[in-house]
Amino acid sequence: MGVTAQVARLAATATHVLIVEVPGWGETRMLLEAELDRRGWTSALSPADADLLAICGIPGEELGAVCDRVWDQLPGPRTRVNLTASARIPALLDAAVADLVDDARQRHDAASRSRSSVPEDSPPDAVGHDEHGAHEAAPADADLEDSGADEAGMDHEGMDHEGMDHEGMGHGGMDHEGMGHEGMGHEGMEMLVHGIPLAGGGDDRDGLEMDVLTVPLGPVLSHWPAGLVVECVLQGDVIVSADVRILAAASAPTELKTPMADAPRRRLIRLCDQAVQLLALAGWGSAARSACQLRDAAAGGVVIADQAGALDRLRRRVERSVALRWSLKGLTVDVASGGTDALAMSGNEPSGDIRLRLIEWLREATDLADTGQFRVQPLTDAQAAQESQNRLAALPELLRGTDLATARLLVAGLGLDTAVVASYEVSPRHAGHGDEPHGRASHGGEADGGVVHG
C-alpha cells in the first residue's frame, strides 16, 4: 500500500490537465495555465491524455453537455474542477491532487463506470436524450448527426472504455436510428458500425474519389477560440466545407479578475495570448513559452514597461526565424474583404499574412508596454463584437479547401474573440452600457474605449 501511495504521489506531480474555456473566461484560463506552469504540470491535448478536467467558467447547457461527454473520455484516475473564482485556483488544484491520489475513491469511480454499462442507469443517456428532444423541433438537423457520436471535437467516433463498449454502441445506435425513424433525416439508408455511420465517398479537389467524414473541431481543443465549434466535412485532412457556431456561457463573468487591469494591460495580455496560440500551433514550443511567460507576468501585475525589452526581443526572434517564415508562408486571412464593413480596416489590427499579423501583435504589445497607452484609439465594445461577428461569418469560406494544419493556423491568425460574439448574440445591437459590457470588455480583452481612463 505504501508503494502504491508513493507511485500515486509521484504521478500527481506530473498531472495533465484538459482545459475547457467557456467564452468570456479567458483570463481564468490564462491564470490556470500560469498556475500549471508553476507546478510543472502539463495541459493535455486530448481527453485520453488527461487526469484532470478543468472547466473555466460556467458553461451553458450545450457546452455543459459536451463537458460531460469529455469527462466520460478521461481514462482515469480522473477528477474534475470548475474554476470560476481566480483566487481559488491553487486551492482547487490541491484538492484535485488529493482526489487523484485517493486510491479508494478512484477505485470506486472506476467501478461505477464499469457498472454503468448496464443500460438503465446512466446520466449521459439522459443528456443524449435531452439533446435529441431539444433538436427535434429544429428544422436544421445538421448538428444532430454528431450529437449522437461525439461533440467533444477530439474525434468523430466517440470513445469508450474497455468493458464499456456496449454503452457506447447503444448510444450512438439509438440516436442515429431514432433520427432515421422519425423521418428527420437524411441517413436512413446509411450503414452503421458500432453506431457510427460509415464514411461516405465523394470527389476530392483533384477529382479523385475519397472518403468523406464529418468531424467537429472544438469546442474542447487546445489553442482554439473558446466555445467555437466548426463542423467540418473532411476528405483526408482537407476541409471540404465548414459550419460555424459558438456554444455560449450560462452567464457573463461578473468578477473583475486581473488586479490593476487597465485597458492597455488587458490588450497586451490578449495580444500575447494570441501570439502564444499561434506559435504553439506552428509547433514552436520555446517561443510560445516565452510569449506565455510575458503574458502571465503581465497578468500577474508586473510593471508592464519592464516587459517592453523582452517583447521586442521575442518579436525580433519571431521575425528572424526562417523555419517559421517557411511554415506560415502564404497563409493569409483576408479579414477586410471577408467582412463587409470598414471597421476591420479602421482598427489597429493588420490584415493579411498571418506571420505579419503575429509580428504586428508583438509590435503593438511592445508599444503598449513601452508607452502604457494606445497608439490608435481602440475599438469600442460594439465595434469589437461586430468585427468578431464578421470574421466568424467569413470563417467557413476561409477554411474551405484548406488542410487541418492550415485551418488551425488561420483560425489562430484571426485572433477571434468569441466572448464578445457570444454575448453579442444573446443581446443583439447591444451598444455597451451598464455592468455587462464592462465585464465583457475586461474578459474579452478587446478594449472598450469607454472604459479607458488614459
Binding site: A11, P75, D155, L409
Partner: protein, 321 residues
C-alpha cells in the same frame, strides 16, 4: 575479413561477435538511454518555462508512474490488434536496430549487411506509426498517420543514400568494416552532408522536434490523441528508443565507432552516442515544427540531389584511393 586484419587496422577495431546471452543487457541499456533523453528533454523544457533545470529532470519518472497508473482506453470500433502492434512495435524495432551497433569492439550481430538491416528497421517504423494512426479509428489519429507517411516519403530516400555513402567508402555493408575504414579519418569529416541528412532522418523517423507534425498540437496530439495508460507509455518510450538507436548508429557510421584517446572503446561509443542524442534532443527546443507538405518539396528538390552528389563524390574518392 582477411583484408581487414592487415597491419594498419589490427588494434581495437576488430569487431567481434559476442555471445547472444549478452543481449539481455541491450533492453536495459537502451531504456536507460531513453530515460536519460526524456530527462534532458524535460529539463530543457523546465528551464525555458523558468523552473529550475533539475526540477524537470525527474519528470519522466513521474510520467512513467502516471501512465502506469492510468487506465488503458479503447475507442469505439478500434482495430485493437493492429493498434497494439503499432504501440508495442516501436520499442521492439529500436532493440532490433541496436543489435548491429558495435559497443566498442563487441557486437551482438555482425551481419554481412548490417547497414541494410538498420535501414529495413527504419522502414518498419512507417508501418508502426501508420498502424497507431489507423488503429484508433479516429480522425485526428488518422491524420497523424497520414502526416507521418508524407514525411517518410520525403526523408526515406535521402536517408537511404546517406547510409550508402559510408558503405561505399568502406566498400562493405558490414558495420564493423565501416568502423575499420575510419581508422585514419572519421567519415563525418569528409561526408558531412550524409551525416546531417542521416541525423535529420533520425529525427524524422522518431517523429521528433521539427519533424513531429504527426503528433502535432494542431491535431490534438495526432497519433497520440486516443492512446492512454500503458499504450501511451510504450509509444513515448518507443520514440525515445528509436531516437537513441539512431543516435547510436551515427557513431559507427560517421564518428569512428569506439575510436578515441584514453577511454576504452566501449565507453567512447557510449559517450559519443550520448552527445549525438543530446544534440538531437536540444534541436527540438530551437526549431518550430516543419509542415510535411512543405518539407516534401525541399526534400525532393534540394536534399535528395545534394545527398546523391555526396555519394558520387565519396564513390569517386573511394575509387581513386
Amino acid at each position: 575479413m582477411a583484408a581487414r586484419l592487415t597491419a594498419e587496422s589490427f588494434m581495437a577495431d576488430v569487431i567481434v561477435q559476442v555471445s547472444p546471452a549478452w543481449a539481455v543487457l541491450a533492453p536495459p541499456g537502451l531504456l536507460l538511454f531513453a530515460l536519460a533523453g526524456a530527462g534532458l528533454n524535460s529539463a530543457l523544457t523546465a528551464r525555458s518555462a523558468g523552473r529550475p533545470f533539475l526540477s524537470g529532470a525527474s519528470a519522466p519518472l513521474a510520467q512513467v508512474a502516471r501512465l502506469l497508473r492510468q487506465r488503458r482506453q479503447v475507442t469505439v470500433a478500434a482495430d485493437v490488434l493492429l493498434w497494439r502492434v503499432g504501440t508495442g512495435g516501436l520499442v521492439v524495432v529500436a532493440l532490433l536496430k541496436i543489435l548491429v551497433i558495435p559497443l566498442g569492439s563487441w557486437t551482438l550481430a555482425d551481419l554481412d549487411a548490417g547497414v541494410v538491416w538498420f535501414n529495413t528497421m527504419d522502414v518498419m517504423i512507417w508501418a508502426l506509426f501508420w498502424l497507431i494512426g489507423w488503429g484508433a479509428n479516429s480522425a485526428h489519429a488518422l491524420v497523424g498517420g497520414y502526416r507521418f507517411l508524407s514525411l517518410a516519403v520525403a526523408y526515406e530516400l535521402p536517408l537511404m543514400f546517406a547510409l550508402t555513402a559510408p558503405a561505399v567508402a568502406a566498400r562493405s555493408l558490414r558495420v564493423g568494416d565501416v568502423v575499420a575504414a575510419q581508422q585514419d579519418l572519421w567519415f563525418v569529416i569528409w561526408m558531412p552532408i550524409a551525416f546531417i541528412v542521416f541525423c535529420g532522418s533520425v529525427i524524422g523517423f522518431s517523429s521528433w522536434g521539427p519533424f513531429s507534425a504527426a503528433v502535432g498540437r494542431d491535431i490534438a496530439g495526432g497519433l497520440l490523441t486516443d492512446v492512454s495508460g500503458i499504450d501511451r507509455l510504450l509509444i513515448l518510450t518507443g520514440r525515445y528508443a528509436v531516437l537513441t538507436a539512431g543516435a547510436a548508429f551515427a557513431v559507427p557510421l560517421f564518428l569512428g565507432g569506439g575510436a578515441g584517446p584514453l577511454l576504452p572503446a566501449w565507453l567512447w561509443t557510449i559517450v559519443k552516442t550520448a552527445l549525438v542524442l543530446a544534440a538531437l534532443i536540444a534541436i527540438r527546443h530551437r526549431l518550430p515544427t516543419i509542415r510535411p507538405d512543405r518539407f516534401a518539396e525541399v526534400a525532393w528538390i534540394v536534399v535528395l540531389p545534394v545527398t546523391l552528389l555526396q555519394v558520387l563524390i565519396v564513390a569517386m574518392m573511394a575509387k581513386g584511393s
